[in-house]
């Protein structure tokens, strides 16, 4: 077992890299509180939303598509949720979040599979539309959320010592992993991205598969928005801005192929945690924001380069 793990070290570089970076930070940043449980839990809290979106992104990439709108949809969802809570309470808020995700996802899916616009363009356009709608309906102002119950469940709460956000990430990660690895849907997703013609000849409705992964991705983005809103007790259009890049980076770092057919949810979650870990460590090191950006970019390039198979 161990031998196989190291023989395929390129495939498993994310796990090795995660451990190596963790050890390096633990040794060099021990005096700055890196290993303090609170700091470690904070990494999880900051990573959870990225991880939730990245789980769904793993399905999208595995099916050979991409979704650039997730960050903006998360932002839009914080606004619709906050506004609905103000009017109708937490349950209305949750309903508004799910409705936002469904509406955007079905629109993305319809444009991509029926109208035939590549998902790169569909979701690029949707990125602007979602942000515009969020700015418009909120008049660019923050919308406060005054529901402690909502805030506890979606982001702010702790169950004993465990942040609720960690539970969201773990539960969704577990479900995502099993669905991708062991369900008929997951297998169809991997087949569609791995060889669309072959999948179609084998009787798979590849358009339906692509439609579903895009809906799934928007739903996950809407949920991430609900978590942002709960954690910060407000909805504002800027939340989630730029997250799409971290989300895609997390999935790719974890071993999911940008070209489809290959994906792992566990790898994606570790990828998301690794990005959070690096951000945290670089801040503790006292690097300026500009230096953090450069260092983070360098580490990501290194990890992805090491994971490439040589031909």
């Amino acid at each position: 077992m161990a031998n196989a793990f190291f023989a395929n070290w390129r495939q498993n570089i994310i796990y090795i890299g995660f451990v190596v970076i963790f050890i390096v930070f633990a040794m060099t940043l021990a005096d700055k509180g890196f290993l303090n449980p609170n700091n470690l839990l904070n990494i999880v809290r900051q990573t959870a939303m990225i991880a939730v979106m990245a789980i769904a992104m793993t399905f999208v990439l595995s099916a050979g598509e991409i979704d650039l709108s997730v960050g903006a949809v998360a932002g839009l969802s914080t606004v619709t949720v906050a506004m609905a809570i103000a009017v109708g309470g937490p349950i209305a808020g949750v309903g508004a979040g799910i409705a936002t995700g469904l509406a955007v996802g079905m629109f993305n899916g319809w444009l991509t599979t029926r109208v035939g616009i590549p998902s790169f363009l569909t979701t690029l356009a949707m990125m602007g539309i979602a942000k515009g709608v969020a700015m418009w309906i909120s008049a660019t102002a923050a919308v406060p959320i005054l529901s402690p119950g909502y805030s506890w469940l979606f982001g702010g709460g702790n169950l004993g010592p465990v942040p609720v956000l960690l539970l969201w990430m773990a539960v969704l990660g577990g479900i995502g992993h099993i669905v991708l690895r062991r369900s008929g849907f997951g297998r169809r997703v991997l087949a569609t991205g791995g060889g669309e013609t072959a999948a179609r000849y084998s009787g798979i409705d590849t358009k339906s598969v692509k439609f579903k992964v895009l809906v799934l991705s928007s739903l996950a983005a809407a949920l991430a928005g609900m978590l942002y809103a709960g954690r910060l007790q407000s909805g504002r259009f800027q939340l989630g801005e730029g997250d799409e890049l971290s989300v895609i980076a997390a999935a790719v770092l974890g071993g999911t192929s940008l070209f489809g057919g290959k994906g792992t949810v566990i790898g994606t979650i570790v990828g998301a945690l690794m990005i959070g870990l690096i951000n945290n460590g670089l801040i503790l090191m006292g690097l300026e924001f500009s230096q953090q950006l450069i260092a983070r970019g360098g580490i990501i390039i290194l990890a992805v380069a090491l994971s490439q198979k040589r031909s």
Binding site: R182, S183, G184, R187, R200, Y201, G203, G261
Partner: protein, 524 residues
């Protein structure tokens, strides 16, 4: 359902693609427990009728019955539900999934909770390969497999469906001889169980051994259906070839003026193929490469053109040894390749005729990094006129042209580099008969103008019309080097051109089949 119901009965099937009759009122019947060979040359309609049968294409006219039950919807799922299984020549395998996952794709084994049970799939896959008496690792990724193992996986996928009708399209092309033997043993078992097997192959020796009856198609029409006992190989070839060579036979073949040696290969080997090839090509000569798919013809072309590496041996051009490491080296040495896959390797479909035409000579037409538009347009117009390209203008996208005119653009692009050696890989594939003879005339003209030409074609009548000499290849090696005259049948009157060409085609076909048979002996 009556006992005598045919396993498959296709009646009066017609199918046109963009005005071309791929199938014209074809009827085809296969009985349970029968191995039925489907034969025909390229473009005869074999693949089309199979794709109609398995639901990829919808027939324009005609009916299909499977086991006496009419097939009303035409989708891959409906055909499979009716009991038809087919191997798709690697088309139905997902490279990123394992062998077992591919075999049971959409029919996965489940554990009690509804989750996929890959272990069970791996066990069942291993059982299937055991039935076939071959070994393929069920856990291997299909993308990592060689061609033979992929083919076995395709076959296993087809037979795993417990079908009433099993369609095998060229199942043996990538298989080792011993694996073909095992496949035949297995097919005999299936036959005994009453499964109807449709077997497509270009290898007459195989057909003669395995098939009970054969149906021969030509130019989208049904020619004959008969028991194999009434179809010796010569007769089969005669029916496949037919008298269809009109339009080619009247192309003038003036005796070639052989010039100096242009290209010389000495014991050249590539990565898999070709193997130890030696050949010479003279100025003014058209050299044909004949052989089946996978015989190494295209690999040889790619090696000379610098696309695949030369591992061993020496290439000499105009008497000097040259090192060809990349396509640029070959182009600089005066070699041009009109590649096999026109749409992906030959043209940039969305670009204009002009920008395709100048692609290989952009540097020559540029000054200070800018393309000289006038020079580019002049060059394009000259090529359009010389090759008689039918296009609305030089600025129209190449994708708006017919296949034949697209191919002329590719040829024009390479002629612009003024090559000494022109290699044409299946230059007439998917092209109407009018453009075909135009392209072959052009090949003769270019040779007469002093170029050396290597032409690959699966249509033997074309090779015979275009070439001065023909190499028969199998398994990456040259098996025979035949001057064109050696294929003439002296008993046919010299003025009956169509008949002469037909006779020569039969002789060449026989040479190819002989080469295959010899190859089997050397393996056995």
């Amino acid at each position: 359902m009556s006992v005598s119901a045919a396993a498959v009965r296709m009646t009066g099937i017609s199918k046109t693609f963009g005005g071309v009759h791929a199938l014209d009122d074809v009827s085809f019947e296969v009985m349970p427990g029968e191995v039925h060979a489907l034969l025909g040359g390229n473009g005869a309609g074999k693949s089309t009728i199979l794709k109609v049968l398995n639901g990829v294409h919808r027939p324009d006219k005609g009916t299909i019955e499977v086991g006496g039950v009419p097939l009303t919807t035409h989708t891959p799922e409906a055909s499979r539900a009716a009991g038809i299984a087919m191997n798709y020549q690697e088309m139905s395998l997902v490279p990123t999934l394992t062998v077992a996952q591919n075999i049971f794709l959409t029919r996965e084994y489940r554990v009690g909770t509804g989750l996929i049970d890959d272990r069970e799939a791996e066990r069942r896959a291993a059982d299937l390969f055991a039935l076939l008496d071959v070994f393929v690792d069920p856990k291997a990724l299909v993308g990592d497999l060689g061609a033979g193992q992929k083919q076995l996986t395709e076959i296993a996928k087809a037979i795993s469906q417990d079908a009433k009708v099993l369609v095998l399209d060229e199942p043996s092309t990538a298989l080792a001889v011993s694996d073909v033997e095992r496949l035949f043993v297995f097919l005999h078992k299936l036959k005994a169980k009453g499964v109807a097997i449709i077997y497509v192959s270009h290898r007459m020796d195989e057909i003669a051994r395995i098939a009970d009856r054969a149906t021969i198609l030509r130019d989208g029409r049904h020619v004959i259906t008969a028991p194999l006992s009434e179809l010796p190989i010569d007769t089969m070839i005669e029916h496949i070839v037919g008298r269809r060579s009109k339009g080619l036979s009247d192309i003038e073949r003036s005796a070639a003026v052989r010039g100096d040696v242009l290209l010389e290969l000495k014991n050249v080997s590539g990565r898999h193929k070709p193997e130890n090839i030696s050949l010479t090509l003279h100025r003014g000569e058209v050299l044909g490469l004949a052989g089946l798919l996978g015989s190494g013809r295209s690999s040889l072309a790619r090696v000379i053109a610098g696309i695949d590496p030369v591992l061993k041996g020496e290439i000499r051009i105009k008497g000097r040894a040259v090192v060809i490491r990349k396509p640029g080296d070959a182009i600089a040495a005066g070699v041009a390749l009109v590649p096999e896959a026109r749409a992906t390797q030959g043209i940039i479909p969305a670009h204009s005729v002009a920008s395709n035409m100048i692609l290989a000579v952009i540097d020559r037409l540029s000054a200070a990094g800018l393309v000289d538009t006038k020079a580019a347009n002049d060059l394009t117009d000259a090529q359009i006129e010389r090759l008689r390209v039918k296009t609305a203008s030089r600025d129209h996208a190449v994708s708006t042209l017919s296949g034949g005119n697209q191919q002329k653009v590719v040829i024009g692009k390479w002629l612009a580099t003024n090559p000494d050696i022109l290699i044409l890989d299946e230059p007439t594939a998917g092209i109407d008969i009018g453009s075909k003879s135009e392209i072959i005339r052009l090949v003769r003209e270019l040779a007469a103008a002093g170029k050396g030409i290597i032409m690959i074609s699966s249509e033997l009548s074309e090779l015979l019309t275009a070439c001065d000499r023909i190499l028969v290849m199998t398994e990456g090696r040259v098996h025979q080097d035949l001057p064109r005259e050696a294929l003439e049948d002296p008993s046919v009157p010299a003025d009956d051109l169509a008949h002469r060409l037909q006779a020569a085609e039969q002789r060449l076909q026989i040479e190819i089949q002989k080469a295959l048979a010899l190859q089997e002996v050397s393996h056995g």
